[in-house]
Amino acid sequence: MLAQQLVNGLVLGATYALFALGLTLMFGVLRVINLTYGFYFSVGALVALWLARSVGLPIWAVVLLGGVAAGLVAVVVDGVLLTRLRRTKAGELPSLMVTLGAVLALYSLSAIWLGTEIQRFPFDFVDSSAFEIGDLRISLVQILIVCVTFALVGLLFVLLHYTRVGLMIRALAENEDTARLMGINVDAIVIVVSFVSGLLGGVGGVLIGLNFNAIQPFMGETMMLRGFAVIIIGGLGDIRGALIAGVLLGMFEVLTASYISSSAKEAVAFGALVLTLWFRPTGLFGRKEVKRA
């Protein structure tokens, strides 16, 4: 049982991490607590669902296009909601509030339009067979989720830390005006970052929607609390941190549920993770703000 529970924890943790990747990018770089992120997650899943059902596209195309659609929505939403605030240097909290209002409107609108009933991908859409090693079972989709999560973490890490674009992104994260003085086209980078984080959210939505077979407009909302926990515990804007915190959170929840009590799952998981914050006040990998007196 332990082996299976560890697999369960890993998969659950990977879904948390997958969800959190785009969020931490958006948060760490664009410095907005963007509550619309959950909506991009839903958009990815819903578009993919539509493509799979009505157009009959295969899985890889659906994942990709779902992600792209979410990325485009993210660019538009960011452009409409946040450019103005960014220009006036309004700070984190007003952008939180704007996205709060936007999320209310967007979810409600899509609920009116699409209904809130849970939908799923066609039954034969992915091979539902599972690998079995003794008692241990892991499905194809789960393997896909774990692999995609690790791959995306790797890609993103390389992008941010070893490429010119990454350098520009990090510079922008820190000081927009000075980034401009370096010849960085800030508006373009902002679009790139929004797109990439929307894309990550959308891909997460498709895969997690596939795994749990439950797609509806509000699916992103219920992930947000976990998502925030993961990016905070990992350290804002840190890709490795999101991965490790996600997996830890998943493991914690699963192990608590199986060996302590399922009703204590959330309390133990949250409690333990809050304790981590007490010992590392800026998360596992978050640096203390580099600021000297």
């Binding site: 049982m1 809130t116 799923r120 039954f123 499905s139 509000f218 009703s263 959330e266």
Partner: protein, 352 residues
């Protein structure tokens, strides 16, 4: 005055709006039929104002207050959730306005006051029937139980399950909980799998139940392990989402879409034609409730709340759910109409 207006408070927006919208559909269809057939009180039209509660108890109370204070309705149908009802009940009861829950199955609802009714059959009446069937026809002895412990409806269903299980002498191998918005149940199911139970009883709304079924099969829980559902599992959506994974699930229901009687057949066809989707039990219960209300108004001979209340107590109606009466305590009188259904190939059928 040529119309009689009644009110309803349902969830029309937000994540749980599916339930409220189904109820609203049932109510409106019944209302139109009543009006087409000559209305109430000898020719007056029946009208309905549905207010949104967004699933929030304060908004539910605000909506009820608006219906009572502004629209002066004598009667309110709803609200959708038990939690909302616990907040609305004292207010409407205090104003002596009849309030009828069509979907609130938690314990203690009608105890709030003389004006609070419900047409939803409490789980306490349905579940023993299901469990008994499972014991007698499938020889179930040990069971595991799962429920959403943050949801009043699921919790109260679970309480009934536990009582029934003890009554029938089942051995309860474990009780596992989850959150009503969870989507991962692998930890609990893995644990249950290792306990070799005969059946798993689940009390929750349809979304988590579907997730549990899918993940159970995915984790290789043998098909011989039967799932027993509560009221939440009694929805055609279960088959749509969980598909084959739901095969063999047992659920007791006061209503069944394929029930052969003419009334029900007509309801299902009309509903399908009007809303372009199949009705669920929430719509069916709402449909019957509206009919019951119209009859009560006619019998009361007036649209005053007190008189409607008296008339309701004397209800003797046969609707799509079967024969219906209220108890002294304003709950549905009998669970005779309950049938045990099983899921096969994504559809419910009567369990033989």
């Amino acid at each position: 005055q040529d119309t009689v207006t009644v009110g309803a408070v349902e969830i029309l927006s937000g994540p749980a709006s599916g339930y409220g919208i189904a109820i609203k559909s049932g109510l409106e269809m019944a209302m139109d039929e009543i009006n087409a057939a000559g209305g109430v009180l000898g020719g007056k039209n029946l009208a309905l104002i549905v207010e949104d509660s967004a699933g929030n108890k304060d908004q539910a109370v605000n909506a009820a207050r608006k219906l009572i204070g502004r629209d002066k309705v004598p009667l309110i149908i709803g609200p959708t959730l038990s939690n909302e009802m616990f907040a609305v009940g004292p207010v409407s009861n205090g104003r002596k306005i009849v309030t009828i829950g069509t979907s609130t199955t938690a314990a203690g609802i009608t105890a709030m006051g003389d004006y609070i009714f419900r047409t939803a059959l409490p789980e306490a009446d349905v579940i023993p029937v299901t469990f008994k069937t499972a014991k007698e026809k499938l020889g179930v002895k040990t069971i595991a139980m799962m429920y959403a412990n943050d949801d009043a409806f699921a919790k109260s269903g679970f309480d009934s399950m536990k009582a029934a299980a003890e009554e029938l002498g089942f051995e309860i191998a474990t009780i596992e909980t989850f959150g009503s918005k969870d989507s991962d149940f692998s930890a609990q199911l893995t644990k249950i799998k290792s306990l070799n139970v005969d059946a798993i009883a689940v009390s929750a709304l349809v979304e988590p139940v579907a997730g549990i079924l899918l993940q159970a099969r995915q984790l290789g829980l043998p098909e011989t392990v039967r799932f027993i559902g509560g009221n939440g599992s009694n929805s055609p959506r279960l088959g749509e989402i969980a598909g084959e994974a739901a095969n063999g699930l047992l659920v007791g229901s006061p209503w069944f879409i394929a029930k052969k009687d003419e009334l029900n057949q007509k309801f299902v066809t009309d509903f399908q034609a009007r809303y372009n989707k199949a009705p669920d039990q929430f719509a069916a219960q709402a449909y019957d409730t509206m009919k019951i209300v119209a009859e009560a108004i006619d019998r009361a001979g007036s649209a005053e709340s007190d008189k409607i209340r008296e008339a309701l107590l004397a209800t003797d109606h046969t609707g799509v759910m079967g024969p219906f009466k209220f108890t002294e305590g304003r709950d549905p009188a009998s669970a005779e109409g309950v049938v045990v259904l099983t899921m096969q190939g994504g559809k419910f059928e009567i369990f033989e």
